[in-house]
């Protein structure tokens, strides 16, 4: 007797699932466990396996089709010549191949909840009371999407004190959400010898009489210069247009008062290297004093961050809103260096793949690797 393979439900949200590809054809011999179909939702791709040994005698779906959960996808017969039940159905049954016959108990529950048979996905050849109870618990009795509370969604957690987010935290939240929702971010990194930068930084510091190590500031300044020469990295996507910013507003992450800030050097290309370092220093001090103005913590068009001296070998930075490139500096590899003349170091970059590609980004990083 022919046996059916139905499209299973994989989560509460998807009542229809896309058939990605078919791994079978009619007449093919299959064994239990063989992959028949590859299906996909917005969140996962999964295989549908045969539950029986036998022969494919009917395929009721095709690649690219969106199919309701519970639909019979494949019939498996004991012989190649067996006819699928559809061949023995009435024309009405054939034109509604996915219409299950409800059990008596299911009919009562459909009346009780005011549901139509077609509303409820079924897990076997008949619509059962279990199908209806499961549907109602997932969707809710009034047919609206049930709003799950945190415990239903995630499980049981200990009680917690509720605190308001501070301004810097709200800023971080907005930034992370933008990064998650808007750009098509991708990441790559290069390994380079930081010794050349270290030497350049020492010479600069000595000649300018600087108090602070200018290494990271000079790297950020180089990025400003690269942004001026390569406007595409100082751009973003807005609707379907590229917005090439006319100025380079360099965002630079700092930690002050145990909070993370991205301070913004506006129109950074107007400065020479020393002027840029002085401006950056001023913003850093303002961060500690908590006197930064709104335009000094927003509006970055490109950004630089570092986890230097924290033993980090790589970190994947979060793109500030409306930027397409943020360079992350890490020097944790120094710990592995045996040759003291080499300082292995990493420049990684998160970039918006809607506007930049790996080639352009790697080129920028390699230019940045040399002072």
């Amino acid at each position: 007797m022919a046996k059916s393979i139905e499209l299973p439900r994989v989560d509460a949200n998807n009542d229809e699932i896309t058939i990605a590809s078919l791994a079978i054809e009619v007449g093919q011999k299959v064994e239990k466990g063989d992959i028949l179909i590859e299906a996909e939702t917005s969140k996962t791709v999964f295989d549908i396996e045969s539950e029986y040994d036998g022969y494919i005698i009917a395929i009721n779906c095709k690649a690219g089709e969106s199919v309701p959960v519970g639909t019979t996808l494949v019939w498996i017969g004991e012989t190649k010549d067996e006819l699928p039940p559809q061949a023995n159905r009435t024309p009405e049954e054939i034109t509604s191949p996915c219409k299950p016959k409800p059990t008596l108990k299911a009919i009562d529950l459909l009346k009780k909840y005011g549901l139509a048979e077609a509303d409820v996905p079924f897990s076997s050849e008949r619509l059962t009371a279990h199908d209806i109870e499961k549907y109602v618990s997932e969707i809710g009795k009034d047919g609206e999407e049930k709003q799950l509370n945190a415990t239903e969604k995630y499980g049981i957690y200990p009680t917690a004190r509720r605190e308001k987010l501070g301004p810097a935290q709200k800023g971080m939240l907005n930034m992370v959400l933008w990064h998650r929702d808007i750009p098509s971010d991708a990441y790559l990194e290069i390994i380079f010898n930081q010794a050349f930068w270290r030497q350049h930084s020492k010479e600069f510091s000595r000649s300018a009489g600087l108090l602070l190590d200018p290494l990271l500031g000079l790297m950020a300044y180089k990025l400003v210069q690269l942004a001026k020469k390569n406007p595409i990295i100082n751009s973003t996507i807005d609707n379907n247009d590229i917005l090439c910013y006319e100025k380079v507003n360099l965002g630079f992450t700092i930690e002050a008062n145990k909070q993370l800030y991205i301070v913004v050097v506006e129109n950074a290309e107007q400065y020479d290297a020393l002027g840029f370092l002085n401006k950056l220093g001023e913003l850093q001090r303002k961060a500690f004093k908590k006197t930064l103005k709104k335009n000094e913590v927003s509006g970055a068009t490109i950004a630089f961050t570092s986890l230097a001296k924290k033993g980090v070998s790589r970190h994947i930075p979060i793109l500030p809103p409306r930027t397409s490139l943020m360079v992350g500096h890490s020097d944790g590899l120094e710990l592995l260096a045996r040759d003291s003349s080499i300082e292995p170091c990493v420049f990684g970059a998160t970039y918006d793949h809607r506007i930049l590609d790996g080639g352009v980004t790697a080129q920028i990083l390699n230019k940045l690797a040399v002072p």
Binding site: A208, G209, L210, L211, L212, D213, I254, E255, A256, N278, K279, G281, E282, Q284, R285, F288, K289, K309
Partner: protein, 84 residues
């Protein structure tokens, strides 16, 4: 004046020790003429905190261009700067 100078030096030195301790570093060996960034007791962030404290403690507003190793590189230099 020398008494005030010494007071400033003590205050600055104590602040350096306090900031270094936050990074689990003991800076009691710091001498008044040691170059602070070269001793490694304070990282860049802590040095900025030292400058911010200095401005607030002595009610000064320091221009960016004046934050140099000559003016703030040692306890002696920081004390001398106030009386310039």
């Amino acid at each position: 004046m020398s008494e005030n100078l010494n007071k400033v030096k003590i205050l600055v030195r104590n602040k350096v020790i306090e900031l270094a301790r936050e990074n689990k570093i003991d800076a009691h060996d710091l001498k008044n003429d040691d170059i602070i960034p070269e001793k490694g007791f304070l990282d860049s962030g802590a040095i900025i905190q030292l400058i911010v404290w200095y401005e607030q403690q002595f009610n000064l507003e320091i221009n960016d261009g004046e934050i140099t190793i000559d003016n703030f590189g040692s306890i002696n230099a920081m004390a001398d700067y106030i009386f310039k």
